[in-house]
C-alpha cells in the first residue's frame, strides 16, 4: 500500500505522521513517501510565528473548532514531555485588543485562563478599549517541522524533493493513495477558485523583554490587518498584513513601514529593537478547510485522493485535528480495499 503525501509543511508532515502512527502495524505493506518542492526552513509553516490561535469567529464551522481543540489538547499533552523543546512547543500568554466590545470567541474554553482585560491593563494600549487575556501555546515551525521530519525518517518514511505536476503522475508510478497537502499551490494540481492567497509579511526583531503576544483587531480591515507582536524563543515577530488575492512573494517596503510604525505605536519599547530579518508568505485561504476524499477514475482503477488544504492563517492551530481526520479518511479507504480484496464468502 503506497501512500504519497504532497507537501512538507505542517499539514503534510503531521498528516503523514498521524497515518503512519495509526496504521503501520495494521498494514505491514504501508509505504509512505513525502513529495515537496519546498522543505523546512523554506515552507509557509516556517515563516509563521507559530501561535496557536484560531480566527475570532468560526462562522458556525463547528468541525474546525473541534479540530482546533483537538490540536490544542494534543499539544498541551506534550508540554511536559522531554520532546517539547525540540518540537518548539511552549506556553505563552497574551492579549487580544479591540476598539469595541466583541463576543467571546469559540476558543475561549479551549485556551487556559481566558478573561477580559481590566481597565488598568487597557491603559497600556491607548486606542483600545476592550480585550482578552489568555494562556495559549507556541509551536514554532522551524523547530516543529524538523522534529516531524526526524520522527518520519525514523519510521522509514522517504522524502522526495520534487514538484509534483499532477495526481496522475503519482498514480502511474503505482501510488495507491495521495494526500494532497499542497497548501497554497493546490490550485496547480486541481483548480480551486475558493483557494486564494492571504499574503502576509513580517519583521523579525530582537526584543527579548517582550514576554506576551499582543494581537490587535480592526474589525473593519479584517483579520491580521492590524498590528501584532508575537515573541518566539529566538526572536519576536511583528506583523499585521493580510492581503487577499495578492500572490507577491517579495517583501514590500510599504508593508514594512506599516508594520514597523503600527507595532512601535502599540509598544513604544520596540523602537529600540534590532531588526534581524523580514519574510513574506501566502496563507492558503479558503472559506473552509478542504478535508475530504476524492475518488479519481484512471482506466479500470479507482485512485483515492485525500485533500487536506486551505488552512489560511490557522494551519498550526488546526493541524493535528486535521491530520487525525485525514487519517480517519485513510482508514476507511484501507477498510474498503480490504473488503474488495477478500469479498464475503458464500452463505451456507
Amino acid at each position: 500500500m503506497r501512500v504519497a503525501i504532497i507537501g512538507a509543511g505542517v499539514i503534510g508532515l503531521s498528516s503523514a505522521l498521524c497515518i503512519h502512527e495509526q496504521f503501520h502495524s495494521l498494514e505491514p505493506s504501508l509505504e509512505l513517501q513525502v513529495y515537496a518542492d519546498h522543505f523546512t526552513p523554506h515552507t509557509t509553516s516556517d515563516g509563521a510565528a507559530g501561535l496557536w490561535q484560531p480566527y475570532l469567529s468560526d462562522h458556525g464551522n463547528l468541525q474546525e473548532t473541534l479540530w482546533n481543540k483537538e490540536t490544542f489538547d494534543y499539544l498541551l499533552g506534550h508540554l511536559h514531555s522531554p520532546a517539547a523543546k525540540e518540537m518548539g512547543l511552549f506556553l505563552i500568554s497574551g492579549y487580544n485588543l479591540f476598539t469595541e466590545p466583541v463576543p467571546d470567541p469559540s476558543w475561549k474554553n479551549i485556551v487556559l485562563g481566558f478573561r477580559n482585560l481590566t481597565p488598568k491593563e487597557l491603559e497600556l494600549f491607548p486606542g483600545y478599549s476592550y480585550g482578552w487575556f489568555n494562556t495559549a501555546l507556541m509551536l514554532e515551525g522551524r523547530s516543529y517541522l524538523p522534529w516531524l521530519t526526524n520522527r518520519l525518517t525514523q519510521r522509514g518514511v522517504k522524502f522526495f524533493h520534487k514538484k509534483v505536476e499532477s495526481f496522475q503522475e503519482l498514480f502511474s508510478q503505482g501510488v495507491d493513495v495521495v494526500l494532497n497537502c499542497s497548501g497554497m499551490r493546490s490550485g496547480d494540481l486541481q483548480p480551486d477558485p475558493e483557494l486564494q492567497p492571504g499574503r502576509g509579511q513580517i519583521i523579525k526583531v530582537l526584543a527579548p523583554w517582550v514576554k506576551h503576544f499582543i494581537i490587535t483587531h480592526n474589525l473593519k480591515s479584517g483579520i491580521y490587518n492590524s498590528p501584532y507582536v508575537i515573541p518566539g524563543s529566538e526572536f519576536t515577530v511583528l506583523g499585521g498584513i493580510y492581503q487577499h488575492g495578492n500572490w507577491s512573494e517579495e517583501n514590500s517596503a510599504k508593508d514594512h513601514k506599516s508594520i514597523w510604525d503600527s507595532c512601535c505605536q502599540l509598544l513604544p519599547a520596540l523602537q529600540k529593537a534590532k531588526i534581524v530579518g523580514e519574510w513574506c508568505g501566502l496563507r492558503p485561504a479558503r472559506p473552509s478547510v478542504r478535508l475530504e476524499r476524492e475518488s479519481i477514475c484512471l482506466g479500470n482503477l479507482q485512485a483515492e485522493v485525500i485533500h487536506n488544504y486551505g488552512h489560511g492563517g490557522f494551519g498550526i492551530t488546526i493541524h493535528w485535528g486535521c491530520a487525525m481526520a485525514a487519517a480517519r479518511l485513510f482508514g476507511s479507504i484501507l477498510q474498503e480495499k480490504k473488503q474488495l480484496a477478500s469479498p464475503p464468502g458464500p452463505r451456507l
Binding site: 523543546k85 511552549f90 505563552i92 494562556t135 527579548p208 514576554k211 519599547a269
Partner: protein
C-alpha cells in the same frame, strides 16, 4: 544652606533609587554616591527583581502597600515607554502555586498587580502537586540594566559616584552635611544594627528563552522568573548564613525543584550560580537620626533592611527617605539661621 551636600552610602537598588529621589525632590542638593560595590557586584544584581512583595512583620500593612503601589506605578510607566529595554523593566505574567490552600487567599498586593485571580482547574493541571494557585501579571527589574539605568540618570543629574568603603559614618561629616545610609547588609557593622540579619539566597541564572511566564511556589523557596536574557531559578532562604560561596548540592536541589515545576528547564543552557545575602529585618528601617559626637552633629537618614522585598518597595522607601532628607535640610537651615542671630 545654598547647596546641601548629601552622601548616599550604598549603590544597590536602594542606594541608587534613593539618590535619584533626592535629586528629584531637592534639585539644589549636591548628591554623591559612595559604595564599596557597584553593579554588577551588588546584592541587587543577584536578585531576580520581581515585584512580588515580601511581608514585613513589624511594618504596618498600609505603609507596605503604599510603598509597593508607588514602586509599581513608577515602573509600570517606564515599562510602557521607549526606555523600557534600556532600564530592564518588563511585564511578566504567571502563576503562584500552593501545595495546600493558604490561609490568606488574597494578599495585600492583589489589587495592585494586574489581572489577579485564582487559577482555574485546567491551569492547575500543569501542577499536579499543587492544590491552589493565583494567576497575575507583575513587573520585573532586570539587573544590571536597571542599576546601570539609575546610574545614568544620576550622572545626568550631576551626581558623582565613587568606589569607597565607608567604615564609619563619621568619616563623612567634614565633607557632607547629610548622610543617607543605604548599606543593606553592611548596616550591621556600619551602624551596629543587631536586628539586621542575612538570609542567604542561592540562585541559578540560565538560558531558557522559551520560558515566558513566571512560576512561584507559595512557600517562596522555589521560583522561576524569566528575565530579558536569562531565567532566574531559585532558591534558598538560609537565615543567619553569611556564606557567599555557591553550594553544589544546593545548585542541584534548586534545579531539580524548578524542573518539577517546569520540566522543559531540563534543556536549559549556560547555567550560572549566584549568591546574595538578603538584608533582613522585622521592619524596614526608614528613619531619621542625628548622630552626635563631641559637640558635632551629623544628620543621618537610614533606608535599609528590605530583606526579600527590596525591588518591590524600593521607589516607595526611596521617596520616604528623600522626604526625611528634606526634613534634615530644613532642620539644618533652621539651626543655621538661629546661629546667625
Amino acid at each position: 544652606m545654598a547647596s546641601p551636600k548629601v552622601a548616599v552610602v550604598g549603590a544597590g537598588v536602594i542606594g541608587l533609587s534613593t539618590a535619584l529621589c533626592i535629586t528629584e525632590t531637592c534639585p539644589s542638593c549636591s548628591v554623591t554616591v559612595l559604595s564599596e560595590q557597584f553593579s554588577p557586584n551588588t546584592t541587587s544584581d543577584v536578585a531576580a527583581g520581581m515585584l512580588i512583595p515580601h511581608t514585613y512583620p513589624d511594618t504596618p500593612i498600609h505603609r507596605q502597600k503604599q510603598w509597593f503601589k508607588e514602586t509599581f506605578t513608577y515602573l509600570f510607566a517606564i515599562s510602557n515607554s521607549a526606555e523600557a529595554s534600556e532600564a530592564g523593566i518588563h511585564l511578566v505574567s504567571g502563576w503562584q502555586v500552593f501545595k495546600s490552600t493558604p490561609k490568606e487567599e488574597l494578599p495585600f498586593w492583589s489589587d495592585i498587580v494586574l489581572g489577579f485571580r485564582p487559577m482555574s482547574k485546567a491551569e492547575l493541571q500543569k501542577f499536579p502537586q499543587h492544590q491552589f494557585g493565583q494567576a497575575f501579571m507583575t513587573l520585573k527589574c532586570d539587573c544590571p540594566p536597571y542599576l546601570l539605568w539609575l546610574e545614568k540618570r544620576l550622572k545626568a543629574a550631576g551626581t558623582q559616584m565613587y568606589t569607597r568603603k565607608v567604615a564609619d559614618l563619621w568619616e563623612l561629616h567634614s565633607e557632607y552635611d547629610i548622610v543617607v545610609n543605604c548599606t543593606g547588609m553592611g548596616a550591621q557593622q556600619l551602624v551596629g544594627d543587631k536586628q539586621l540579619f542575612p538570609v542567604r539566597g542561592q540562585v541559578l541564572k540560565v538560558h531558557a528563552p522559551w520560558v515566558k511566564q513566571f512560576i512561584r511556589d507559595g512557600d517562596g523557596l522555589t521560583y522561576i522568573y524569566p528575565g530579558i536574557h536569562k531565567v532566574t531559578l531559585g532558591g534558598t532562604r538560609e537565615k543567619g548564613s553569611w556564606s557567599l560561596s555557591p553550594d553544589a548540592y544546593t545548585t542541584k536541589d534548586i534545579f531539580d525543584r524548578c524542573c518539577s515545576l517546569e520540566p522543559s528547564l531540563q534543556g536549559a543552557q549556560d547555567i550560572k550560580v549566584k549568591v546574595g545575602l538578603r538584608p533582613s529585618r522585622q521592619c524596614v528601617r526608614v528613619q531619621r537620626e542625628i548622630l552626635s559626637q563631641g559637640g558635632v552633629k551629623l544628620p543621618v537618614v537610614h533606608n535599609y533592611g528590605h530583606g526579600a522585598g527590596g525591588f518591590s518597595v524600593h521607589r516607595g522607601t526611596a521617596k520616604e527617605a528623600a522626604h526625611l532628607v528634606e526634613e534634615c535640610i530644613s532642620a539644618l537651615q533652621g539651626s543655621s539661621s538661629r546661629a546667625k542671630l
